[in-house]
Symmetry: C2
Subunit: 621 residues, 2 copies
């Protein structure tokens, strides 16, 4: 089994002010080396002496870690709407016992073969009350993990937040809150894991009211107490799961039953089933298990017009428009997802890893294409460019004792082989990370094809250790942004999908655009634009970029976040001009909404559906 | 390659008054044996001495073929709307040159690597004019292949048909006709292959106007001249194809380029790409290639509100609601599909067939389930019950010459082995027909799994000949309805999808319900209810039924078609009560629309989308 966490039990609470688990992340230790705090990851508790100088070099700022340039003032004060008290009174009146007797309160439990109480979301105390005005909870549910969000919570004095957090534990309570919101004209903001990178919780009208009194009071509807696995159907290979269940809890609960979920987005530690559906999420093993749209058999969602659900859980049907398809990508605008019947898979017989090193990104990309065409496509295939390859190599902890000698010898041999025998330049190399899952025979076939194609494109099989490292890197790299932030480095990921033949030009154009604006704006050091190809399809590929640079805190015209936003915006324009999608799996939110053409019938149709399901604007827009 | 036709060239025109190619179908020869006329099928030109007595026996009517009980009065007179002339004048005025100079007129052509003129739809002469009032063309485009349709064209004096047939050859002409229809308030009925079995062309308001003058004049918009393959993209594995292209023409054109389409619905000889999308069609090889929703990368469709299309042909995206998903199942109500970019596949390395005989349907069904769970799922897996198994065995032409001795010995041995060694009862047996497509290794793996599972469930491998026969049977059996019709036998297929564990009870309940009503209504002979499981999914299965019986032409209360409709309706109620879908791939049309709950938000949402895309009701509803 692929394990993104060393254990699923006794996890620390989630951080308030950044990504991840409390007391986890990168720090600089007393020796001036970078260390990874915490205990839940493979890399936790290790020291990585070579990372700091490498980061300074990559960002072209020699004294990068000498000075903290952004001083956090977290937490900001959260706004209070002048009419918040009256809405709160309405809620307290409607739910006098505050859900205290509700069994789902314990979190993570399951009536039928699901997770037990040990698996409860450890931060569930923050959702212990059905109705809360706790400012820290309101703040946390007011934002996702967009760079803009993180900048704002650390650097702004105030943060625009919902006034009340409502945490239902049943569909009936969601029905009730929608009825109340309709009657009393307050607005609901459905929230799952609050891990979006699209300003999804902002809503595109949310911040634009001239007079605060004219804007509706906002109530965050947190689904996190609706986190049960309601049923596992071993005949039809499905599980019925409440929408607020978190990815890691679902994984853990199903694992105990001999099943895997198959859906593993990078946010799986914190994101929810409902969030995956609402954002049309993609998992890294989609080659085997499919994306979220392939995994949902039936979704139940509640709108101000009523509940949408298919009448039978048949495998596939031709009956009008597919209601499941309408909620995908709705991002909370049409309704609140309450539960879904999803496909589940028997635990694969074999799990294996492989990595393949290439002289550069281009032959690695050709390898990926050929692998996709071959039909022997492993569960996950990702190609990282030089920067990410180097970073993954630096994430080798300093070995100790007799292991050090062996590790050094092995490492020296590998380097010798790759650089001398193959003639690879370490400053140009790329690497492909592969996760195999399936029957022993399927995996063996895929391995044979990988070996053959690697040779064809001049690749060198670099072993499963490198692959496991590359995979784990996904979950560790997410902490890097918060580590770099105080040093004035702003960074974020963004992604697109594009036809195969358009991908190379798109990638190069994004790099050029970022570098052009970085220079033109006179920003310090160098801009990092690093790419990985994360998903492959017969018809195209997903490119996932990271952008990072040290901002100029004394810039004459632009605040640090505006410097970042400007460059990111320009990169997105270039993506669109080169035939890339506005988003492959992050969705639109308020961040990318401005790129939609309001005169396009497709955009208008999405708005028409909003008008249909939510004619009075009860849900965020 | 699987070939459903012996040749794709020089095909006869399509029949006017029934299914299939002209001069093809079953007849009784001078010796009183059944023969299959024509030349395009494997079975064509052969004589099948044992079919007639078997049919008589199955239907429980000894003198079934002694007398023709239904005398066709085909063709019926087609209606003419009192205002038809004025609409015709509008059209002739708007399109004065009648498209005569349009290159697409030739049909089947392709600018880029597509089919050549030889592959043109041979019946295209009927679509040679952009504007036609030919009564036979109007009649043909007024109906599909629902039993009700066929009964009506043979037995009714008049048939309600559109007044004009408009056959555009470009999207611009579709834009224009929609603008004209909006301005002059006539109604458009999009038509592809007109092969529906759902009364899809009727529209659910079409026939209910009290005063004919109040109903709008109707114009059938036939897409059949828009049949070009516009581009084949060998890098991204897609083809851009106009919506009016017929399945067999697409297959043939792609085959020349080394590709397969993968989508092979039973109607592929006559149905169109646009029709597949509009009805959310399923192909028999969907295990390898996917259903139509898996195959479409991008669909262009024109609505009265404008054109819907994604902005880039990326492989997958998270951008609002997926516009492709909105047109699936729309059945012509939302817009007219003009073209689609679809996935194509390199011609498989290996194609093989297998059939597996089982003692009865139940172990065969368990075998199918186990095969699905194994992950080694062949491209097509179908399980037929005893009746269809017997029919396929009777479709062995009488061999001649020295072959007869060998064939007889082989047949005798097979029968001896199956009945004596395995103890199978020929009156209870079932058979599974398998088509393998893929790499030699994939096929070998699937074959090994089939062999293992066949043994596990007591099945006997019965060879590729039987499988090819079973496959070809699909295309031949479609002619049987028209052969039996004059003898008073009414028959039709209907289908559903259902979770695996609910399937056996559903099947038995349908049989019981049909037999109950057949007895209760005092109808002659016996009712045939035969089933095959045609599609398998991890989460469920598709059951495809045929229903047939000799009607009572002298029934006191019910006309023949009402006798049939009553039983079919009751069977559908039983399907729904047992958790089956209203349709797996045939769609709703006017035939099944009455089963939709108008108070269900899902139904209402489909209607809201109709209202959004077509606020003035320009398209049929």
């Amino acid at each position: 089994m692929t394990q993104f966490l060393k254990s699923f039990e006794n996890l620390p609470p989630e951080k308030q002010a950044g990504w991840g688990f409390e007391q986890h992340g990168f720090t600089i230790n007393d020796d001036g080396h970078i260390a990874i705090d915490g205990r839940v990851y493979e890399f936790s508790g290790q020291i990585y002496p070579r990372i700091l100088p490498w980061l300074s070099s990559q960002l072209g700022v020699a004294d990068l870690f000498q000075q903290q340039r952004i001083v956090s003032t977290f937490p900001p004060e959260v706004t209070v709407h002048p009419h918040a008290a009256s809405v709160l009174a309405v809620l307290r009146d409607a739910f006098p016992d505050d859900g205290a007797d509700d069994t789902a309160d314990e979190g993570g439990g399951a009536d039928d073969g699901g997770a037990d109480g040990d698996n409860a979301y450890e931060g569930a105390d923050t959702h212990g009350s059905m109705i809360s005005t706790d400012p820290m909870l309101r703040l946390r549910l007011a934002h996702g993990h967009t760079m803009n969000d993180i900048y704002a919570i650390h650097c702004h004095d105030t943060f625009d937040a919902p006034d009340v957090v409502f945490s239902p534990s049943s569909r009936e309570q969601i029905d009730a809150i929608i009825a109340l919101a309709t009657e009393h004209q307050f607005q609901l903001i459905p929230v799952g894991g609050a891990t979006n990178v699209s300003l999804a919780l902002e809503g595109h009208h949310g911040h634009h009211s001239e007079n605060p009194e004219d804007a509706p009071v906002r109530v965050a509807v947190s689904t996190r107490r609706m986190n049960r696995i309601l049923a596992i159907d071993r005949v039809n290979n499905t599980a019925h799961i409440e929408a607020g269940a978190i990815g890691r809890d679902i994984v853990y609960a199903l694992e105990k039953e001999g099943y895997v979920l198959g859906h593993e987005p990078d946010s799986i530690e914190f994101s929810t089933l409902g969030g995956w559906i609402a954002t049309r999420a993609s998992g890294m093993k989609k080659n085997r298990y499919g994306n979220i749209e392939d995994l949902i058999v039936d979704v139940e969602w509640v709108t101000p017009m009523g509940t949408v659900q298919r009448t039978t859980n048949n495998p596939r049907e031709s009956v009008l428009v597919d209601p499941n398809a309408l909620i995908l990508g709705s991002e909370g605008r049409y309704g609140i997802i309450t539960s879904a019947v999803v496909r589940i898979f028997k635990r694969p017989e074999t799990v294996a890893y492989e990595s393949v090193a290439f002289a550069s990104f281009a032959p690695g990309f050709d390898f990926m294409y050929a692998l996709q065409q071959s039909g022997d496509v492993p569960a996950s295939v990702r190609l990282v460019d030089t920067i990410q390859f180097q970073f993954s190599q630096l994430l080798k902890p300093a070995p100790t004792g007799s292991l050090a000698v062996i590790a050094k010898a092995k490492s020296t041999f590998q380097r010798w082989f790759i650089t001398r025998v193959k003639g690879f330049d370490l400053n140009k190399m790329a690497a492909c990370t592969i996760v195999y899952e399936g029957s022993a025979r399927e995996v063996a076939n895929q391995q044979a094809t990988v070996k053959k194609l690697a040779a064809q494109f001049g690749g060198v099989l670099a072993g499963s250790d490198n692959a496991r490292r590359g995979y784990a890197l996904t979950f560790t790299i997410a902490y890097l942004r918060d580590f770099l932030f105080p040093y004035g480095v702003l960074g974020e990921s963004f992604e697109t999908s594009v036809a195969w033949d358009k991908a190379p030009a798109l990638w190069q154009a994004v790099v050029a655009e970022a570098e052009k604006w970085h220079a033109e704006m006179g920003l310090p050091g160098k801009i990092i634009v690093t790419v990985r190809a994360t998903q492959i399809y017969a018809t195209g590929v997903t490119l996932y970029f990271y952008l990072g640079f040290q901002c100029d805190t004394a810039h004459a015209d632009l605040s640090p976040i505006d410097q970042f936003a400007h460059i990111e915006h320009r990169c997105r324009e270039v993506i669109l001009a080169h035939g890339g999608s506005l988003s492959h799996h992050h969705g639109i939110g308020a961040l990318r909404r401005g790129f939609l053409d309001p005169t396009n019938l497709r955009t208008q149709t999405a708005d028409a559906l909003k008008q249909w399901f939510d004619p009075q604007g009860v849900l965020l827009d």
